[in-house]
């Protein structure tokens, strides 16, 4: 399109160099391009038809089909241990609507990795990485969200059998929302209130098998299923999970930091804030991720605004590009600035997180509370502003923004999920406020 070509000719910098800055290194920016190119040459990885025309069942089937094809090609395309390459590949092939392993790499393996002992890694980590088991992370409950202090699901230690008895006493105690919990996962990291001899020790993580590995049928004592359609992300099966006095061995408690001895002795973690670790990790990552959602919507709106011509300014012989209107620029450019700002803020926050991780190895968790507070605020502000920016991008596309041909709604639906997952925004802001007041 000559209008877009003209725009590209006007640019004053090298977009490959800018991509290197956005994605943190020239190497990763290049790998992204190579992976996209590689995917485009594998016909089985192409969409069977545009996603908006598929039913939810068809989307689920399509996501699953692609995962199985990807599993075959994966080693040839990416370094499997490189999480960033893996994420890019999956987004490229499957997009934003989810798939059966959407949470496996990002929310199942990480807690196993960071909260599990060496023996537990030996037992499960390799299997998870080879995708011999499919997992998810189940914390949120129907009636209490992810409020750890109010979790109703209990894990009561039975000294006589050296087992934990998992139980959901009410409907509100059902795990509700976890991605891929409903139909795909056969294992889950479950967060439950640890109880030993009538004493409650609060939220702890447990590795729990929920389905038979051969038949995929739910195990006895397990109630599991899909929670139904959502605003977006409908190719993923977000699920519910209940336990009826379901028993698991003692060594299924992830015991890197806190332990339960066979006789029921509880050994607490060296520092209470150690449990912030997982939340901080995900929320640090969310800033960058949300910036990219915003960039997706802006890519659509800015390109279209350079193609769409409407009305006249000085020259009455040609309609002008809508991008030349100040209102359109005011609608889009501050969001472009925010998309870049989120990338850079995300990268700096991730560095701080790595600093905290290194500190933790030597018992120094000083920065953890600061970062926990900051990332609570970041995830709230960034998800909110991303949602606003995407909505502006949609309206900047005129009526066509309302069509699923723009695909903006799908990006919007996924991005604003972030306003409530990993902690509802108001709750998160109040967490940061507590820190500001104390300071």
């Amino acid at each position: 399109n000559p209008d877009l070509t003209e725009e590209r000719m006007k640019g004053t910098f090298d977009t490959d160099k800018m991509a290197a800055l956005i994605y943190g290194s020239e190497k990763f920016a290049r790998r992204r391009r190579e992976i996209s190119d590689c995917v485009s040459r594998i016909p089985q990885l192409a969409d069977i038809k545009p996603y908006p025309f598929l039913t939810r069942d068809e989307k689920l089937m399509e996501g699953t089909r692609k995962i199985s094809v990807l599993n075959h090609y994966l080693p040839a395309i990416i370094d499997k241990d490189n999480a960033a390459e893996s994420l890019h590949l999956h987004q490229e092939v499957i997009g934003f609507e989810g798939h059966p392993l959407a949470l496996h790499d990002s929310l199942f393996i990480p807690p196993l990795l960071t909260q599990g002992t060496d023996e537990q890694h030996e037992k499960w980590l390799g299997r998870a990485k080879r995708r011999e088991i499919i997992g998810c992370y189940a914390q949120t409950e129907m009636g209490h969200g992810s409020n750890l202090r109010a979790l109703e699901t209990t894990a009561t230690y039975d000294i006589s059998t050296q087992e934990f008895i998992l139980h959901t006493p009410t409907i509100t105690a059902l795990k509700w929302w976890p991605g891929n919990l409903g139909k795909s996962s056969n294992w889950a990291v479950v967060v439950a209130d640890l109880v030993i001899k009538d004493t409650h020790y609060g939220a702890h993580m447990f590795m729990v098998q929920i389905r038979d590995e051969k038949t995929h049928e739910p195990l006895t004592g397990i109630t599991v299923g899909d929670i139904g359609p959502k605003m977006a992300f409908n190719a993923a099966d977000n699920g519910f999970l209940g336990f009826d006095h379901y028993r698991i061995p003692r060594d299924h408690l992830l015991m890197k930091y806190s332990r339960v001895e066979p006789d029921g002795t509880y050994i607490k973690p060296m520092h209470a804030k150690i449990n912030y670790h997982g939340m901080v990790r995900v929320r640090s990552n969310m800033t960058t991720e949300q910036g990219l959602f915003l960039a997706h919507a802006l890519t659509i709106a800015v390109r279209y605004s350079a193609v769409r011509r409407q009305g006249y300014l000085d020259d009455k012989s040609h309609e002008v590009k809508v991008l030349d209107y100040q209102t359109q620029q005011h609608r889009l450019f501050p969001s472009i600035a925010r998309a870049y700002a989120f990338q850079f803020a995300g990268a700096e926050t991730w560095k701080l997180y790595e600093q905290v991780l290194n500190g933790m190895k030597s018992g120094n968790v000083e920065l953890m509370a600061d970062l926990h507070a900051l990332t609570s605020g970041l995830k709230s502000v960034v998800t909110h502003q991303t949602g606003e920016g995407i909505e502006q991008a949609r309206m900047a596309c005129g009526g066509h923004g309302y069509s699923m041909a723009s695909y903006i709604f799908e990006i919007f639906g996924l991005a604003i999920g972030g306003c409530t997952y990993e902690g509802e925004n108001m709750v998160m802001l109040l967490q940061l406020a507590r820190y500001l007041v104390k300071s």
């Binding site: 399109n1 640019g11 004053t12 997009g95 709106a301 350079a306 501050p334 803020a345 970041l378 723009s406």
Partner: protein, 208 residues
């Protein structure tokens, strides 16, 4: 705020809470805008904390007092976070050595700081005059204009492939309208000329 009030030291992320207010000269660059934001964030955090303390002094329990100033507290949190984003953006851009990249990102930083300060205008007015705010507004329009030639390249730089974007409007080649028509033709509703719903409901209705 409580630590600052009791004369104790605070970490670098909240050091601005203890700083005194100073006059700002907006012509000195983005750092001046950071000062405006710091002022707004600091003032809001102190105001919210003071209100919280006052409510407790008046006899409200800690939890009730907290709930009664939650909206003010949330505003303090938002300002703190937006300040952090602005600071990291400026810090990152100032560390870039490639001149052409740095120049366009400075243009983008200018859009950002002007827009952000205007967006918190009611807070900013406690620190800058309305004339200064008008000047920021003019700066914003001028920054939008400066950025205009690089708009497409800035979003192209995210290098999101057509496959990942899945958007007819956002195609890299810009061939929107013919593809929009092809996309519509692919709709399942267009696979037959007469839908079953017409035969089942509309026709009998019209035949009456």
């Amino acid at each position: 705020v409580e630590l600052v009030q009791s004369g104790k030291s605070v970490g670098p992320m909240v050091a601005y809470l203890a700083e005194p207010d100073t006059k700002v000269d907006l012509t000195t660059g983005p750092e001046a805008y950071v000062k405006v934001f710091q002022h707004a964030a600091r003032r809001q955090a102190w105001k919210a904390t003071d209100k919280f303390h006052e409510l407790m002094k008046s006899g409200q329990s800690r939890d009730i007092a907290w709930n009664n100033c939650a909206v003010e507290l949330i505003r303090a949190s938002r300002l703190h976070t937006r300040l952090y984003i602005m600071e990291t953006f400026i810090r990152r851009v100032s560390s870039i050595s490639d001149i052409s990249i740095k120049k366009v990102l400075i243009d983008l930083v200018n859009v950002h700081v002007n827009y952000e300060v205007l967006d918190i205008g009611t807070y900013a007015l406690e620190h800058v005059s309305s004339t200064q705010l008008d000047s920021i507004r003019s700066q914003l329009y001028s920054s939008l204009d400066t950025l205009r030639p690089n708009a497409v390249s800035l979003i192209d730089s995210f290098q999101i492939s057509d496959m990942q974007l899945r958007s007819v409007l956002g195609r890299r080649d810009g061939h929107v309208y013919p593809n929009l028509f092809e996309w519509a033709k692919a709709s399942p509703l267009n696979q037959t000329h007469v839908l079953p719903s017409v035969n089942q409901y509309l026709k009998p209705m019209m035949d009456k």
